[in-house]
Symmetry: C2
Subunit: 483 residues, 2 copies
């Protein structure tokens, strides 16, 4: 038996016994895998889903469960928000950049309204209520949140703001409920699942993917795919070696978002066959500051006491900036009027009568925080923030006594996951290094590079996974049989 980390392809001629055969073999039973399996099965294909853990769910089942959808969904309309596909497109092109995948964003937007209906038809319930306090899953069952800084600079000037983070009807983390419905949908559509089975490599015949091979309870297992294999095996945030090679800032992330299955195996087994990757340096990094949203009246500074971002933007953008560009050193400066310990108990580590005392206690260079607060307050007196364009609602001078919440890596949780992966077409075909599809191979979800090249909004992972998972499953089901 080959080593688990041996992702190099296996020649079909070496396999004498196939443990099972299907038209389409889906690797991974998370958000992308379940939707790929559903759509392949719905198209009439015989589908086998192979999952390394004991059952379906993947990272999505552990997640907040936000699905990024817009253009005027029933939930958006019920909550009184106007939205258009055009605004959604312009927001995504700006927020997912630099240089995001335009073809995927276009398709994502086109599919958005239909995908909402599709989720509802799969039984996923949504409360038509809005929560303004958070960019994550609310503590209640509200079905809609701002999840990407749509209402903050610069996006509020690029597209009409609308909240597009949709959540299934349950409290806090809602991904488990979403996944329950998606996994059931796949199974009811006819897909068969093998659990506790980890796929390690692709099986090829004449350069064409005809199956997969892996391990189940210490035995080698091989599955034949007559039409195609769909890789939906997650990202690589749980593989420190891959992070060091491709995405070193995320090594320091303290609350990795995903499962231990996010070890990049799906990416590597396709790369071993000459598949191309992109955006491997990109990572989303949530720094969960709000709720309460009134904390946004404070100012974020780095280790030199300098501001670095508009505090009212998406907390995932704050985390990216802090970890990638400021060495994971950030502080939120607050006054009494805007302060209270945040939802996860992050409280002020320092409180002083003056900014001068505060900067001294924090160990910031003398005068640095004072200069920053003075400049901020001077403009804030007239509701302006010419440096970072925080919205007027959140801009007013900070009044001593003044304190700081320690948002450095360690005291604060940095919650990263990877955004880079296999290069795929809109239909999920995996492309090789010369730009041609690898025969018999599709992929979706965090195994691929999705709509985001670097910027992110909450809900785009499950959106990527489920929208493009459906397309990949359908494409694999429609491929000609190889035997």
């Amino acid at each position: 038996m080959r080593q688990a980390d041996d992702v190099m392809p296996c020649d079909a001629a070496e396999i004498t016994d196939w443990d099972a055969t299907a038209d389409v073999v889906v690797v991974g039973f998370g958000a992308a895998g379940s939707t790929a399996a559903f759509s392949a099965a719905e198209a009439g294909a015989q589908v086998l889903v192979v999952e390394r853990t004991g059952g379906p769910g993947g990272a999505a089942a552990l997640a907040e469960g936000i699905v990024y959808l817009g253009g005027g969904t029933p939930v958006q309309r019920a909550c009184g928000f106007e939205d258009s596909l055009d605004d959604m497109y312009r927001y995504l092109m700006a927020a997912c950049g630099p240089d995001p995948d335009q073809a995927k964003i276009s398709r994502y937007v086109e599919e958005s309204l239909g995908h909402f209906d599709w989720l509802v038809a799969r039984g996923v319930p949504f409360d038509p209520t809005f929560c303004a306090e958070t960019q994550m899953a609310p503590t209640g069952t509200e079905g809609l949140v701002y999840s990407g800084g749509e209402d903050a600079y610069p996006f509020n000037e690029i597209a009409r703001p609308a909240p597009r983070g949709h959540l299934a009807r349950t409290k806090r983390s809602t991904g488990w409920l979403l996944m329950q419905h998606l996994a059931t949908a796949a199974t009811e559509a006819g897909a068969t699942a093998w659990a506790d089975t980890r796929i390690d490599r692709l099986v090829v015949s004449g350069g064409h993917v005809v199956g997969v091979q892996g391990q189940r309870f210490g035995e080698t297992v091989s599955f034949r795919a007559r039409r195609g294999v769909v890789l939906t095996a997650g990202g690589f945030v749980f593989n420190d070696d891959m992070l060091r090679r491709h995405c070193p800032p995320l090594v320091r992330g303290t609350f990795k978002v995903g499962t231990e299955g996010d070890d990049g195996r799906g990416i590597r087994m396709a790369q071993a066959l000459g598949a191309a990757v992109r955006n491997m340096y990109a990572g989303e990094v949530s720094l969960p500051i709000i709720p309460p949203r009134k904390l946004v009246h404070g100012i974020l500074v780095n280790g030199r006491g300098q501001r670095f971002i508009n505090e009212d933007t998406y907390m995932g953008r704050v985390g990216q900036a802090a970890l990638y560009e400021h060495d994971g050193e950030a502080y939120l400066i607050v006054d009494e009027a805007c302060y209270e310990p945040n939802w996860m108990g992050l409280a002020a580590s320092w409180v002083c009568e003056t900014t001068a005392e505060l900067e001294a206690e924090m160990g910031l260079p003398a005068g640095s925080l004072q200069a920053t607060v003075e400049l901020y307050n001077r403009h804030a007196a007239s509701g302006e923030d010419p440096l970072f364009h925080k919205g007027r609602n959140w801009v007013r001078p900070l009044v001593p006594p003044i304190g700081a919440i320690d948002l450095r890596v360690g005291p604060a949780p940095y919650a990263p996951f990877t955004l880079g992966g296999l290069e795929t077409t809109v239909d999920g075909a995996v492309l090789d290094l010369k730009g041609d599809p690898v025969g018999g191979l599709w992929a979706a979800g965090r195994t691929t590079a999705g709509v985001c090249s670097f910027g992110y909004a909450s809900g785009l992972s499950i959106g990527d996974s489920t929208i493009f998972g459906r397309l990949a499953g359908a494409a694999a089901a429609a491929a000609p049989t190889t035997a």
Copy 2:
């Protein structure tokens, strides 16, 4: 004939006629290729070097030509500098990070003194004189410069500073002279060269590399390698598509450093065989501000009027920070005492009686530059820079009238090249995605990920290329024959 961008491997069984056969085939005749060819030939191997342009030289021949060497070279000693291998090691481990390749740095340092002698033995002349004004090639023939901020924070606190940038005896760009000697050395050692021949893909037999295939004047050509192939085909800064996938900030670089041959073909043809890469996001970005070095008395600010780095560090670190973290927006604020147009004619675009007027003319947010200058001047009055630790020699208050040199992308040249590439052992063996050597395949130079994971010093590219080129050539020559 296959397309030029078809880097997928070719099976040896498809080749009926080999155009030439050698023990070792070296792809590319630049700094890495010439040294690999020399050492393979010196070890008794029959060597063929295949070069896509009309002759030897590669990017090194167009370069400043700095070679990073230390530990007490004859040039360092003649110039009165003490250096040790330990200081060189500690500097490199700090400056080449985060998390640089420790094994390669150790070997690089061990080889350093012997490599200097080896270059001299190849006829490369060095003037035993030091130039303090520049971090690049001097206008004179001086043989030694500080080329990596060794004498600036934080490196001056990590290792005893010593200049380690060595230059062959000629004015300004010295790479052509270095390459003349290295190419001659390879040829005199017995290597045969084919020019005007572009290699597009590897030829494999049973997963082992046994040759290469490419084009020469429109015809397909194939070369058999009995012992091994050494890829020394440059980086990928001239391939915008690869930059967009792996290293988007460099797309904006205006003065790409390299040749059009730096299209990443060497990296991709190995990846197509399952080779691993690392550090693909890393790029060196020179922003050539000094000489004159007195400009370092000024302060660098970003588009918010904030300082972001100690101005006395290596200009390659300044360029990286400006392009990767500040959107390519930087300005050097100067007063009369420190100002003169720099060596390439960059002059002050704005000059004003007061900082307030200057920030208004520059379009910076009101008060932002004033706050920065006030804070800087307050500390500078006592020779301190607690924010960025610029050295005392360069710290004194700025006195109006005050001006700014426009260092934005466009007005100023940003000169990037890529640092990421194939994962190799110290001996140049190319590793696959499971960490095993790809049989018959070695690599060196910018085709590989060298000693730098992100940070850089001038001279490390030619150092990487020539030190590890020699090792790779020797290793390939010592491999068993496949036929």
